[in-house]
Every structure is written in structure tokens, then in C-alpha cells.
Symmetry: D2
Subunit: 396 residues, 4 copies
């Protein structure tokens, strides 16, 4: 497999990604209506990532010592957005959830050995990974403190037992980062630990794919059981009982890269809709010249601009070393809703074609809807945003 | 095939439909995620309609002399809504679009012979039908005056040529009502005629199913070509060149029955969401006791109540013989948006389950979205509503 | 003072009110920008009510044995709406809050003696009244159970002590209906009693007018103190400790008549805006022909239609003897928000004139805004609506 | 008049403004419910500006050679926002509309002589100014091309005739910048010229104040007639027939400083509401802990954050020399609507107090509403935004 010959200059990176996506990724996406399994699944990933690697576009966010391009958060914005125009674009560049966030997390927390064993192949696109946190009721969902999966002390390590679901990318993942309770009771704020486990470790079973409206995530959203899964001490990620704290490390940037990718998808839907109304005539003129059409276009322009402005502010804060809990929460909430509005308007503007698979807008709508729930439903974010504001107000 | 033994008393009709849907139709719907082809397609229809016929519930809106129950518009409201709880419910009762609207249209316009040949078997559920009006650009879409399909005079009748698409139920339909231009040019307001044509008539070809986000309509949304299709004079529906006027006859009631059915579907999604939040605990209490959850529930209660109130007002107007263009347009526009909001909230309230096929809400969202476009996009309705208001204001 | 010569036929009542308002009331309203004190205050009321009395239009909702027209809820709708076109219209017809609701309450609960002493002059427009319930924090506001004003047993009656505010119409009222706690503690659900007290009774003091954005309510929104105010047993309204229950009797209908009046005001703003955009030209055409203008007009048409449809449903339920807690709560909440949207759009459509006193729209916006708070803020209604829905869902 | 002793360091400027506003300006604002005339009018301005001057806070945006602090757009953001917390704050710092925009315009276009005669005293707060562009129908309103006021060639200069209205600050202004047509016809895109005229020039008459919902702008919104007003050639501002182009120079920055000021006002309303709900108890807890309250707080936090993020992006573009027509249009439109939402929620959260003059929120709502119309109604901005997007889409 040929390695790329050197780093792509920053100035050319965005253009490079745009061209790669337009020429090599979007056509596959369009042909298969964004269904990643229908389009080839794992073999598609390998093929597309080979193309990205060849062009020096793979893992733009990965640490440079492991072969990534080392982009900071602000620099990621246009690159990830360009990738996001295709539902397969993030996979092609190895910046898909959950791998992208896992790379970020491991880069911050992994030991040198873990770094070699788990992070390096991930950055190089040799394996995929999964982040096993959410559980069926009454376990950890929107409220992570309800964590019920346990890791109990055994000789030389820990033994994990529990049931997880909506584990994205689990089917075919090379390893799992498992969030398990090492102390305390469900409902208590602390006591969680992150543990690394290769997927072929005894006791790990991908039970089934949960059918969801989105179909573009390789490896699906799975239910996974952990039965007496042994994890040696060396594979504990970070300190015991500090899992929730590390989840926060992962959280802010992961929220923002989601926004970047979905901004690209929404922008594509918007562009398609504009092209449609500019070409289509009715009621004695172009659809694009009707005021109600213009209003929807303008509203989407505003939503996209506000999403990007918030995104840049939050990324600046992250690049400056801040945790940016407040700004990433605000940005994620606004963006998830704004981008869904953008795509919904695109559907509407395209009329009957907008609900068909003749155009990509219905597909983008289907893929984007869960973003208002995944990564924290808007309601949970608003709850946190409000409490922060009230604390600040009471303190002033 | 056993006929039912007598009319069901009005008071029992709603209950009867509710029970039939809950026991015999919803389970099939749930098992197949609302995909009508996967659930059996035409054979499913025959089986479910047999059940409805046996219980005296078939064709509640059909004329009584042909075996229907003869319900007026106001009386249809609770019955159609009860049917709409299942995505297959309208099909089961033979009140699905487009058959339901076609029955209404034929009942008003058909000759005695047409009534026997086309309407009777339709009311009895022996055949399905399609209404072939919409065309690909630059033909008739939101703007029906752009009609390009032609019917030209030939000896003893007419010859139809043209291409239609988004023709619901076309695949497997027993006959078509075709809207074709018999005079004038595309862009002119008049000159359209309705013609009846059995589906096996030479020159009619169902080219393909157009893939759409909804999957519950038997016979799909098809592209259909008409090539030198002969229609004898006896099969012209109503008067030549009066097609747009008859379309109006069909329009108002068809809009309202759509609203009835979708209200049932949205109510089901709402009920499922309430059940979910009443059962699920997080953040030290029931989800149902959280203010942001309550707000969404209340907003949906309001949207459902306003939809039904508008619906009843418009149906009263129709039952009194009015054309109700204004009130049905307002009701359709409000309802399409309100019911979509209701279902979107239901998705949100159910969290990750809401975007999965574990619950019916994602499916209902998928099926309902096109209603803001089908039967006149909201924008076209708003345009008509505003112009009517300005005319009225200028005249006062 | 001439009495009218006989009841106005129902069919002519609405027209009669429309003409009276247009010719005699609106001009005063317009001249004084809806400021009731600037327009003459109490003397204006007496003059306008004399006009209404002369035309047989006074107290259309009052019991007929006391000189009212005895309209039920459904029949009130068009009459109250016609009155509501002017901010002084309800006062002119003696159907203003709080008198209108007090008439309803007294008609249901008053003894024969109370009926003569308090209700008859009220129906005849000889006095005004006030309903003294809301208190400054930490007393009864959105949460009436916090009631702190007390009525304690004294020889032959009760002694009231407490402070009330936002008591509409207090300044100049002939008598008060005072809600006071006769048992229990603030925070407890029961224990309130209604007591009647002439305004000149010792110990009642109207402390001040609270400045509010609305200026059309005669007698203002006042702070009132009650210091050892004696109320004889004969002036207890209904049974002791049953005050909250009677408040419910008053509540549903009062909510609906508010909606009727404000629908009239919003409709006027809408009409003015339509007239404006139909007359004004820019960008090569009438404003009324621009799509973004049409969208706003259509949205307001929809909001008005849905408000009226909900209103009629709720009024039918009330006329049939139902408490209609659910439907009046839904209707009030929807209407308060919808009518504010209508008026906000009217402001926007009129451009700079819309925020000026050259047109009545800014004034109507100012008067209408509090309706989303008065009579139960939308949030409290939504809370009640949601809890009712969850209870119903859990029970099904 | 004491000059300040030296420039305030940037780092201290925001704090300095915050303290000055809190201690010296807000109390006056609160006492007089934001009514500038009631609070002292011109004498208030002189007194407050003296305080600002003393503290080195006057004219933070003015050119340094004329005594201003020379802040660029990005640097203005926190300063203007801090001023905007009081409705009199911008006046106190001499950054009120229209003076602030006029300073910007003159700094870019004025000749050296004009700079001394008109700009210097304006920067120093010695006079106020007005920008006379908008006209009654059928003249220049949202559509500036309809300009009807003319300046015709006379010996040594020009003679202005026409009627203007909604001229902010006209009453008491020291001079006017008049937009008049020097060529072409109403409806044509070019042909406008800007002319400078001292207010005491023969033929200028401030006819009346137009009553508007806002009351905090010194000098009101006036109707002004120009009758044979002579302007010597030396007082033409910039080139003849280039007036619309200069208006664009003024426009972008003026839009953004409006947003800055109103963000301060909206933030104050938000802060007041948070303080209210944090202090007030009902339904067994703090209002601040109710989910529907938290939702409103969170939505306002999001609206404020997005406003500031858009504002900063647009200001960066302006500071880099861009015209930023697109981004300032988007920012103005979003901000005007978002800030109005913020204040409307603040009103709602404060309950009955929110519509009273006990708290500043109703007043801020009243002052802020016109911002959705002034400086281009949202509809006109959306029209421009959409056309730009369609052109861009068609070109790609």
C-alpha cells in the first residue's frame, strides 16, 4: 500500500479534500443512497481510505508522529466540512465517529504502549474502534450516572459484565473502549473507568444491529454484551474511577467534529435545493425568484452562517486549551437543530423530488435527524446550559 | 367471500374500527416497519379488507347503494383517524389515497355506466385505482396549468400521450383516471379533461417505482407513460375541458381525509412517546415529570387539538355543500406542519429509540414528512390563502 | 337613562355591534392611542355604555332577568370578537374583564340578595367590580395555592388582611371579590374563600397603579391593601373554603371571552396590515404580491382560523355543561401565542409605520402581549396540559 | 470642559464602560423608564457625555486625531455592548445612532474642511447630527431607489426640496446629511447625492415627532421638510450621484454597531430575568429549576452566543477591509430576531412584573422591537441574502 509522499500544504488541503470527495466518494454515496453496507461496507472503507492515503488526506486530525496531519480544531473546520458533503466522506478520511473521537481520547490519555497497540493502527486506518458507553434502560443513556456495566477486580486486571447498545461501529471494530463502573452505584456521579479490549477477547458479543433511520455508519449501531471479559491492568485507559472525567475530554471536540461533518452534509442539501429552484419554472418564473422560496434559502444561509460562527468560536476556545463545555454545548445544540432545519427546507424546496431518492436531500435528512439526539439530546444540553447560566447569574 | 350482515351502527363504528386496527392491522404494520411490500403487498390488502368487510367496516365513505357506509365528512373524522393509527389501516378499510378520493370523485361525476364499471368494484375493494395528474418538469407539478400530457381527438374517442410520475398506487391499479390536455397550451388555466382507462389498455406502461422515504403506499409512487392510449368517448369522466374543475371537487374532501388519516398516525406516535416518558426514569425522576418533556407533550396536545378543530370546521362546511377551498387549504397546511411537529417531538422524546425501528415513531415520521409536499406544498397553499385574504381585504 | 326598547334579534346583534364599534368606539380609541385614561376614563365608559344601552347591545352575556341578553358561550364568539376590534369595545358593551367574568361568577354562585345588591348593578353597567386574587411574592401568583391574604372569623363575619396586586380595574371599582385564606397554610391546595366587599368599606385602600405596557383597562392594574376589612357572613360568596373551586367556575369561560376579545383586536391589526401592503408599492410591485409578505398574511390567516376553531370547540363544550378545563386551557394557550404572532406580523408588514402611532398595530401589540401571562402564563397551562395527557396515557 | 487626561488602556476600557454605565447611566434610565425626554433630553446628554469624557470613554470609535479612541470593529464589540446595557448608554458614550454611523461615514468621505466643520464637533460631542434618507410613500423606504427628494443645480451649489420622515435625532441636531436625487427618476438605482446642511439653514423644518413605541432616542423620529434649501458645492459629501454607494459604506458597520448595542440591552433583560427566576419560588421550588424556565434560559443563551459569534465574524471581515455586505446582512437579520426573542423570553419569565415598569424588561422589549424593521426589515435582508445565494449557486 503506497504511503503518501509528504504532507499536503494546509492551503491545498481543503481543495484536495473537496476534489477527492467530489470525484471519488460522492458518486458511490449517490449510487447507493448513502447505505454503507449496500455500497460495500468494510471493503468500501478500505478502498476509499487507500485513495485518501495516496493523496495525503488520511487522518487529518491524527497526531503527526503516528502518521496523521495534526490539525488543530480551527483548522479541522473546513476540512471536515468538505469531507461531510458525502455521507461516506468522513469514513474515507478516517475522521468518522467514533474513531475520530477515540483517536482524540487515546492521544490524550493512552500510555506509550497503548499508543502503539491501539492508537497507531487506528490513525493509519488499519482498524476501526468502538466506544461502548450507552446502555438499555435503566442503565446509562442521557444520564450517564446510571451506568450499570461493571468491571470488578480480578487477578491481574478487571472483569467486565454488562450490556451496551447503540454502540456505533461495533460490528467489525478491532477494539472497544468500554465504560464500566468500578465503584459506586448506578445514579452516583463517579466510579466509572475506561477499559481497552480487543474485539476478539472472550466474552464480547455483538448481539445485533439496531435498525435506525440512518444507514451510513459502518458497523452500525449495535447491541453488545460483555460477559466476564478480562482486561489486564495495562489496558485500563487512564486512571481507575476517572472514566467520566476522560469522557469529558473526548466530549467537547467530538461534539465539534460532528458539527463540522454535518455542516458539510447540510450545505450539500442546501446547494442541491438552490440548484433545483434555480432551474425549475412554475407560476410564470423561476422557483428561485418566489419570495417564499427566497425566505427559505435566506433562513438556511443564516442557519449555516450562525452554525459556522459558533463552531469557530468554540474551536478557538478548544485550541487555546479551554474545556469549552459551555460553548461546545451551545454550538452542538444550535447546530443540530439549525442543520436539520436547513435540510428540511432543502427537502421542501425540492418538492416531490425532495422526498425521493432522485436527489440526495431526503437521504441527508434521514441521516441527520438523529444528531439532535446522539451526543446528548438537545434537552439535556439545554438543561446544562441553563443551570450554568443561573449559577453565573446568581454569582454576579 | 362473506358479505357483512348489515350496517354497523354509527355509535359502534369508531370502536369497531379501533379494535380491528389494534388487533389485526397494527401487528402487521409493526412487524414489517410499515413497509407494505415487505408485509405482503396486494395479498395483504386482500386479507385485511376481507377482515374489514366481515366486520362491516369496509368503505365507510362509499355510497351506500354500492356497498359503502355512506358517511359524510364530519362522521368520517373519528373513523378515518382510528384507521390512520396504523400505516396499513386506511388500506384495510379501503379508504386509502388515491382510491378514497377517486371514489368521491366518481360518485360525483361518473355516468351510470361508469359507476357500474369503475366505481362499484372500487367501493367493494375488488380493484385499486390511480389518479394520473402530476408530471415531470416542465409539466404539471405544483402548478397544474403546466399540464403537457395530451388527449387528442380520434375516431370514437381520444388518444392520450404523455408521461406522468409520482402516480400513487399505479403499480397494480385496475384503472387510471388520467388528466390530459384537450385544448390550450401548457401554462394556460383551462383545457384539461379527465379520462378513464383500464390499466391493461394498450400503451399504458408503469415504467418504474420512484424511491421515496415513505413505504406504506400499496402500488408505490410510479412513473407511468401513456403512448397512443385510446379512450372511447364513453370513458371521458365528466365534460371535456372541465378537468381542472372536477379536480377541485376531488380536492377539498381529499385534503381533509388525508388530514384525518395522518392525525391518527401522529396521535399514535404521541401516545407511544407519552408511554415511553411515563415509564422511563433519569435525573432522579420520570422523564414525564421534566419540564422540557412536558412542554413538548403540551405542544403536541395543542397541535393535535387545533388540527382536529380546524378539520371539523372544514368538514362541517363541506357537509353543508360548500366548496370550502379556503378552509380546507388552511386546514391542510396547518395540519401537515402540526402533525409533523407532533411526530418530530415524539421522536425526540423517545431518544435513541425514537430514531430506531424498536418503536413506530421513526417510521411514522418517515411516512408523514411528504404530506407537507403532497396534495399541494405548504408554500402553494399559503400563496392561495394570502391572495384570497388580500382580495377580501381590498374588497372590504 | 333610556332603556333599549327590546331585545335585538340574534341575527342582527353582530352587525349592530360592528356598526356601533366602527362608528362610535374605534374613533375614540384611535384618537387617544388606546389610552383609556387619556380618552376620558370613567366618563368615557358611561358615555359609550349609554350608546350601547340605547342600541340594545349592553351586557350581551348578562342574565336576561337582570337586563342582559343572555348569550351562551358559542353565541358570544362573534359578538365579543366584534367588540374586541376596538380596545375600548369590551368596556363599551360591558363585557370587559374583570366585570365580564365576575358577572358569570355571581350568576352561578351569588345568593338572591347578593344578586340584587352586586350583580344587578353590574349587569346594568352602574358599577364596575374587581377580582382581588393575585398577590406579590411570596403570595399567590401563577401558583394560587400560595395565597397569603387571610380572612379570620370575627363576630358576625370575617376580617380580611392582606396585600393584592395586579388587581385589574380596582381604581374606581364599586366592589371587590376578594380571595382570602380561611383555613390552611400558604402552599396548601384548599382553604380559600371568596368574599364580597364594597370598595368604600373601611380598610380597603388602592395604593397605586402599577405601570404596565397596556393602557386600555379602565381602573388600571392596582396594588390594593386590605386591613381589618369586615365582611358580614351574608357577603361570603358561596361556601367557606370553597374559593378555589368557584375560581374554576369563573376560569374556563373567562379564558374564552378573553380569547374572543383579543381575536377581534388581532383581526383588526391583520386587516390594517393587509390594507397597508395592498396599497403600498416597492420593488416594482405591490407589497401584497411579494412572497414573503404573502407568507406572513397566510400564517396569520391560519393562526386566526385555528384560534376560532379551537374557541368554538371549547365553547360548545362549555355550553353543554362541561368544565372544559382541558380544552379552554389549550385554547387559551394557543390563542395567546397565535394572536401575538398575528399582531407581530402586522407590525412587521407595516414597516416603520407599524412601530408608530400612525397605525393601530403597535398599540394592539402593546395591549396584547400581557395576554400570554395574564390568566395563567403559557408555561403553567402547558404544565397542566401535559400532566393531564400523561395521566390519560398512563391510564389507557 | 475638562478633557480626559489620556487614553484608557484597551484592557480597562470595557471595565471602565461597565462601571460608568452601572453607576451613572442605568440609574437614570431606570428612574425614567427609558424615556429620554422625561429624563432630561439634551441636558441629560450633555451631563452624561461630560462624565464619559472625564473618564476617557467618549467616542471610542471616533478617529484619534479628532479626540476619539479609534477602536476598530472587533474592539468595539464589548465596549458598545457594555454601553448598550442602558438605553441611554450609547448616548452617554456618543456612540448612538445616527451620530455613530455618521462619524464613520464622514471619517471615510468628508473633505478636510468638512472634517473640521462637521466631524470634529460631532466626535467631541458638541453637536448631534441626523441622516435624512427615508421618505413617506411613495418615496424611499425599504426600497431606497424610490428616492423623491431632489437636489437641483443652482448657482454655486444645490437646492434641496423634499419631505423626509423617521429621521432619527432630527429635533436638536446640529446638521443633516441629506440624501437627495441629483439625477434619474424614482425607481432608478443611481442618481443620489449626499449633502451636508446645518440645521439652521433656511428651508429646513422639523415638522413633528412621529410617535413610536421606542422613547429612548434623543431627538426622536421626526418628519422634516426641505424647501429650497441651499447647499454650497463645498458641502456636497463625496461625489455627486454617488450617494447610494456611500450609503453602503455607512451601512455595514452601522448594522453591526446596532447589533452590539442591542446585544447589551438584551443581555440586561436576560440577566434580570435570571435573577428573577433564581429568587422566586412557586410549585415547591425555585422557578429557575423548572424545565420550561430552563428551556427559555438556554434558548436565550444560545441566541446571545450565536449573535455574538456572527457579529465577531462580520467585524473581522470589516476590519480586514471587506464590505461584508453578506455577513453583516445575515448578522443583522439574525440578531434583530434573536435579540427580540431573548427579550420576549425575559418578559415571559418575569411574569406580570415582566409587562410592568417594575422591571426594565418590558421597556427593553418596547425599544428593541423596531430593530427588526429599522436598518432594513428582515424581509429585505432575506431577499438580498437569497439572491446572493442563488447567484453563487448558479455560478458554481
Amino acid at each position: 500500500m503506497p504511503e503518501h509522499t509528504g504532507p499536503v500544504p494546509r492551503a491545498h488541503l481543503v481543495t484536495g479534500v473537496e476534489e477527492f470527495i467530489a470525484e471519488h466518494v460522492l458518486p458511490v454515496d449517490d449510487e447507493h443512497d448513502g447505505d454503507v453496507e449496500a455500497a460495500g461496507g468494510e471493503s468500501l472503507r478500505i478502498r476509499l481510505q487507500a485513495g485518501a492515503r495516496e493523496r495525503g488526506l488520511l487522518s487529518p486530525h491524527g497526531p503527526t508522529d503516528l502518521g496523521g496531519l495534526g490539525l488543530g480544531m480551527v483548522d479541522r473546520v473546513p476540512v471536515f466540512e468538505a469531507a461531510g458533503r458525502s455521507l461516506f466522506g468522513a469514513m474515507a478520511l478516517n475522521i468518522n465517529a467514533p474513531d475520530e473521537g477515540n483517536i482524540h481520547l487515546l492521544d490524550h490519555v493512552a500510555t506509550a504502549v497503548q499508543r502503539e497497540q491501539y492508537l497507531r493502527p487506528l490513525v493509519r486506518g488499519e482498524v476501526r474502534s468502538a466506544f461502548a458507553m450507552t446502555e438499555p434502560a435503566p442503565g446509562a443513556g442521557s444520564d450517564p450516572s446510571l451506568l450499570t456495566t461493571t468491571a470488578t477486580r480480578v487477578s491481574g486486571g478487571w472483569s467486565i459484565n454488562g450490556r451496551k447498545w447503540f454502540i456505533t461501529g461495533a460490528d467489525g471494530a478491532g477494539f472497544f473502549i468500554v465504560m464500566a463502573r468500578t465503584s459506586g452505584e448506578p445514579g452516583e456521579a463517579g466510579g466509572a473507568t475506561m477499559l481497552l479490549a480487543p474485539a476478539d477477547r472472550d466474552g464480547i458479543r455483538v448481539v445485533r444491529h439496531i435498525g435506525t433511520m440512518d444507514r451510513s455508519m459502518l458497523g452500525g449501531h449495535c447491541e453488545v454484551t460483555f460477559t466476564d471479559v478480562f482486561v489486564p491492568d495495562a489496558d485500563v485507559l487512564g486512571a481507575v474511577d476517572e472514566g467520566f472525567r476522560y469522557a469529558q475530554v473526548r466530549l467537547g471536540p467530538a461534539r465539534m467534529t460532528h458539527v463540522m461533518r454535518w455542516t458539510g452534509a447540510a450545505q450539500r442539501a442546501h446547494d442541491v435545493a438552490i440548484e433545483h429552484v434555480a432551474a425549475r419554472r412554475a407560476f410564470d418564473g423561476r422557483l428561485a425568484d418566489l419570495g417564499m422560496v427566497q425566505q427559505q434559502i435566506a433562513d438556511s444561509e443564516i442557519d449555516l452562517a450562525a452554525t459556522r460562527a459558533l463552531l469557530l468560536e468554540a474551536c478557538r476556545e478548544l485550541d487555546e486549551g479551554g474545556r469549552a463545555s459551555g460553548s461546545t454545548s451551545i454550538t452542538k445544540t444550535f447546530a443540530a437543530e439549525a442543520l436539520n432545519r436547513v435540510v428540511d427546507r432543502a427537502v421542501q424546496l425540492c418538492g416531490a423530488l425532495g422526498v425521493s431518492d432522485e436527489l440526495p436531500v431526503a437521504r441527508i435528512a434521514r441521516e441527520l435527524r438523529p444528531f439532535r439526539i446522539y451526543d446528548g439530546p438537545s434537552e439535556v444540553h439545554r438543561w446544562a446550559i441553563a443551570r450554568r447560566a443561573v449559577r453565573r447569574g446568581a454569582g454576579s
